[in-house]
Amino acid sequence: MQLSSSESVLWFATIGLDVVLAALIVRLRFLFKFRFFSLFIAISSVRTIFLWLVYYFAGYASSLAAHAFWYSQPLLLISRAAMCVELCRLVLVRSRGLWPIARLVLLVTGGGILVYAVENSTRITFQIPQFVVAAERGLELSISSVLLALLFIASRYGIRIQRTPLLLVTGLCFYSLVQMLNNTLFQPWTSNHLHFYSTLRMIAFQLTQVVWILALFQRDSVTEQKLVQVIPLVYKENSEKVLETLHVLDDELEEISRR
């Protein structure tokens, strides 16, 4: 069984966008600024081309194609998780005081969901596709939760994320959410759903690639921001007093509501 013409178009588009992304990373010198993002794009490009060659020569429904797809999938997942960690660090590390707290929150969020993912995937009979899909769903949920927690922390503390990391975060989170849904709605190991699963996955990934291409073109990403200046003791001296006042305001409101 060979790829249909519509599937071929999707594959060529993905390969094309991957190549454009890789070229932009090298041309705009993002290779060292976003190391894991660059690594992910490199792995994704090589894998996409390799899979297309396997599908073309061995056939779409061959066992070689299935093995090539499912055994290379974990590598892609790990590199995507690494990219997520890199983005969190890049956004929050400038705020030295806040970073340890944020790191803890993100670790608890991501770790908690990962524990669920491990538990969920080990419950499933150990067959590679089912196991990978269950693990992938958990990991995608974990990645999207961590990225949303990152956006929440940035929003609460008024941290302005530069356009490039923001678009990278948005794209990655969108793709993770779509993949989580895709893995829930369609079981890709059954031939009935394979077409829908594959098409939705590729379209979501292409949209993400377009967002990432836009991210790389953002101008503010090139210039490094100045480091945060430290205000010694201000936080230490005032935080307790402010907290007390906030407590008073809250108690007062409670009093009003109760009466």
Binding site: S95, L151, Y157, G158, L181, K226, Y235, K236, S257, R259
Partner: protein, 185 residues
């Protein structure tokens, strides 16, 4: 089967939050980082004149309502006006809270050392306050807030306003001292 309901629900909730948060980031300017440098009066833009007038008017309304021979239409009118003023005072209480919380967030972002415990407590407090404020506003709009609460509100807002202003001054002075030689971002 449960998964078929839970995961799509998570997808909808998370996608909505992503869209909202990304939009906020795109539309954001460095306002909070600037808040730390703004004078207290700007952080507390409550119109003092209007505010004291409101308090005065509340006292008048209460005196008038205590009169026994008051036509029903007039009483209804007074209740409406009282609720309107109470709502304004409640909003100002909320603004005080939000501004102070935001100010501390801005300070935390540029500090070397931040207390885990205090940040966590402040976050919980802001969530709790937000819920209570919305309930109070709802009660007020439904006419469920009793008359004596409004009198108490008048006293409480006045006192807390003074407290907050004193503290904000202290924070602002410290910030000005430290920010004279340095700047954020």
């Amino acid at each position: 089967m449960i998964e078929m309901i839970v995961f799509p629900a998570i997808f909808i909730a998370f996608s909505s939050f992503l869209a909202w948060a990304a939009y906020r980031q795109f539309a954001a300017k460095d306002t909070r980082e600037q808040d730390a440098r703004l004078p207290v009066e700007f952080l507390m833009p409550r119109k003092v004149q209007e505010y004291s007038e409101g308090q005065h008017r509340l006292a008048e309304i209460r005196t008038e309502m205590e009169k026994s021979a008051l036509p029903a239409a007039r009483k209804h009118c007074l209740v409406q006006e009282r609720n309107k003023i109470a709502r304004r005072l409640l909003t100002s209480l909320h603004e005080d809270f939000t501004r102070l919380d935001r100010l501390m967030c801005a300070v935390a972002v540029v500090s070397m050392e931040v207390s885990h415990e205090q940040e966590f407590r402040r976050f919980l407090l802001s969530v709790q306050f937000g819920i209570r404020y919305r309930i109070a506003i709802f009660c007020l709009s439904m006419g469920m807030l009793p008359a004596h609460s409004v009198a108490r509100l008048q006293f409480l807002v006045k006192r807390s306003g003074q407290n907050v202003q004193t503290l904000l001054r202290a924070v602002d002075e410290s910030l000005s001292l430290n920010l004279d030689s340095t700047h954020i971002h």
